[in-house]
């Protein structure tokens, strides 16, 4: 299929502009003073600084993992700047009127209106620009029902008890190399607390943007759903087009207490690098949730960006009858590489997990699904269903599946299905013979392939995700 599809693999990255915003950026380098500087910038209490330093010292002893199916030049962690804040944020703006208009314009260009009256109906937004959270909408309105939605740096000062209790409880400081680095230098991110029995009245979302050159972004998100509460949260990510690779190493922790439900959706569109594979974001992310009794955690992700993705949103099904779900679409094009999947750790009785992973590879890209299903001896009656489908566009790309299953309880029922298919010339020809052009045809075929995952996304974002795939595939047939 060949040439036809090959030439469809030319992509324009719409979010690739850089905004001329004056910033205070820390000189590149990483040592204990860097950690102290970041903590001081955030006016953090002493215990937080100690927590960070402990993580930093652990990180220094750790080695970068090499088991993933991705290849990239060695990262020089000393050449990265670990803190960058827009100058105008020095005296934190009290309202939107005080936010730098250039910043607001940046988000408008990305299609994210920050003015509450213009905001997507029923969606509260937290915006993280380089290292700081610049604005959180609907904060007051949410407060009325007891929901806390704020930058994590505010939460550290305002809700120290919740932070002390839960931060690091799901992803410990020493969990892995990138999580340890994040624990030492994380700069901002979102914090959510939903009180007992409350159904969060609107979608919560965070938009992350890396703007400055040579900065890394290390955000940290913590979501706590107290007993019987419900929340749906969405994160979106973009970055300018640059020839240099940039590092993004985030940590997300979810705590779903008894009978609570957390739905966490991601539309990841970090800059993927150019057609020749130059530039792009290295995305090394640790996401994990703990589900207590009867709780449910759902991860839904649409990953189209980044040069290298290393990401395994996971569920620890601790409580009896708890449920974990992972729905994923990972699209790679040109020279992108993705190694992504999930871990479902069954501890409680009658725990259930569902994994639906869809990988789409075009150009010379490679995508791998890596999933672990572990049934502990305590997990009587556990069930897992896994479905991994790969779709190849053209014949220079690759898809790989690495399922790991560890069962230590004989009552477990585990089902695994895997398929690999190609966008065939015959399918393309059928579409074109019915009057559709090749690009429309490919995007339709790919969207069809992803249907089961898209239907898990909040309505507004399912449409966005479809469009994003269309843009990401632009140029992959011609």
């Amino acid at each position: 299929m060949s040439e036809q599809v090959e030439s469809l693999i030319r992509k324009e990255y719409a979010a690739g502009f850089h905004s001329a915003i004056e910033s205070d950026t820390l000189a590149p380098g990483l040592d204990e003073d860097t950690v102290r500087f970041i903590s001081a910038q955030k006016q953090e209490p002493e215990w937080m600084l100690e927590w960070r330093l402990k993580a930093y010292r652990a990180w220094r002893e750790m080695a970068e993992p090499t088991w993933a199916h991705v290849h990239y030049p060695e990262i020089d962690f000393k050449s990265i700047s670990y803190y960058s804040a827009p100058k105008s944020m020095k005296d934190r703006p009290k309202s939107l009127d005080e936010v730098d208009p250039e910043l607001i314009a940046t988000y408008e260009k990305l299609g994210i209106p920050l003015h509450e009256q213009a905001a997507l109906a029923g969606v509260a937004v937290d915006v993280v620009f380089d290292s700081v959270s610049v604005v959180t909408t609907f904060r007051e309105k949410l407060r009325e029902v007891g929901v806390i939605f704020c930058p994590i740096s505010d939460a550290i000062r305002e809700y120290p008890e919740l932070i002390k209790k839960y931060m690091g409880s799901v992803v410990p400081q020493k969990d892995n190399f990138y999580a340890a680095l994040n624990s030492a230098v994380f700069s901002d991110g979102s914090f959510v607390y939903i009180p007992k029995g409350v159904r969060c009245p609107m979608e919560l979302s965070t938009y992350f943007r890396i703007n400055e050159l040579n900065t890394g972004q290390f955000e940290r998100t913590l979501i706590i759903a107290d007993e019987g509460s419900h929340v749906s949260y969405l994160e979106g990510c973009t970055a300018p087009m640059r020839d240099e690779n940039q590092l993004h190493a985030a940590v997300v922790e979810l705590v779903a207490l008894d009978d609570a439900q957390i739905k966490y959706s991601t539309v990841q569109n970090w800059y993927p690098g150019d057609k020749e594979g130059k530039g792009g974001i290295y995305n090394f992310v640790t996401k994990r949730g703990v589900a207590h009794k009867n709780a449910r955690i759902s991860w839904t992700q649409v990953e189209t960006g980044s040069a290298v993705t290393w990401k395994y949103p996971s569920c620890i099904l601790k409580g009896d009858n708890s449920v974990g779900e992972f729905y994923s679409v990972a699209l790679t094009n040109n020279f992108q590489q993705a190694d992504t999947g999930t871990k479902m750790i069954h501890l409680g009785k009658n725990t259930r997990s569902t994994i639906v992973a869809k990988g789409i590879s075009a150009g010379r890209s490679n995508s791998a699904y890596r999933g672990l299903v572990r049934i502990n001896p305590t997990a009587e009656g556990a069930r897992n269903y896994t479905q991994c489908d790969s779709l190849l566009i053209g014949d220079r790309c690759g898809a790989h599946t690495f399922p790991y299953i560890e069962t230590k309880n004989a009552s477990a029922v585990i089902e695994h299905e895997a398929t690999t298919s190609k966008v065939s010339d015959d399918q393309l020809f059928l579409c074109q013979q019915r009057g559709l052009d090749a690009e429309k045809a490919v995007s339709m075929i790919v969207n069809g392939f992803c249907r089961e995952v898209f239907k898990e996304l909040p309505m507004e974002f399912a449409v966005e995700a479809g469009k994003l795939l269309e843009v990401s595939l632009e140029g992959s047939v011609g």
Binding site: F429, Q433, R434, G435, L436
Partner: protein, 249 residues
Amino acid sequence: MLDIHELVAKVEGKQILNGLNLSIKPGEVHAIMGPNGAGKSTLGNVLTGRAGYDVVSGDVTFNGKNLFELEVEERAREGVFLAFQYPVEIPGVSNMEFLKASVDARRKHLGLPELSSFDFMKLARECSQKVSLDPAFLKRGVNEGFSGGEKKRNEIMQMMLLEPRLCILDETDSGLDIDALQVVAAGVNAMRDSARSFIVVTHYQRLLDFIVPDYVHVLANGRIVRTGDKELAKELEAKGYGWLEKEGV
């Protein structure tokens, strides 16, 4: 409407069409019969511009336009329709979404506004009923899990929706039971009018009892070797192709 002049075409480096001539006027129905491997499907594929089917020489004009200067989708929008011998599945893409996109593409080309979802639904339901296909098929993936007969009826439904100028039916009758055959034939007959032409490729004269052609051609060795009326089909049914094939060499 369609003029094929001395058409020579190759597939995978092998010459399959060897100087084929055929002229079709508006409103006519031409049946094409011939032995397996004669090049009948190749003709349909060359006319619609499928990749891998290369024109070596000759020319084809369709309503005054040089067909070979148009892309696959442009030919389709001009009104050339091919009902596939083996329709492919497109999992997850609803038939409805697919059909609406194709109808809108054709309408846009004709300078007509897109149909509203409501109007399209109504039209699609009517067409599905005409081919005795449950409207539930509109919601399913394109050809996904359809039986052979359902796929063929789905093709005819698309033809009705798109209202093409030239309809090429490639063995639409093969694999159909007699009831389904009558449904398909009735669908085609309902679409016959003075401005629309048909090329009906078939192995069996049975279909031609229901869709009565103006001409019957025999394609052998990449050429039209004999042309007649529906009586020729009956003769072929009785005698086979052997006696004609020699003439094509």
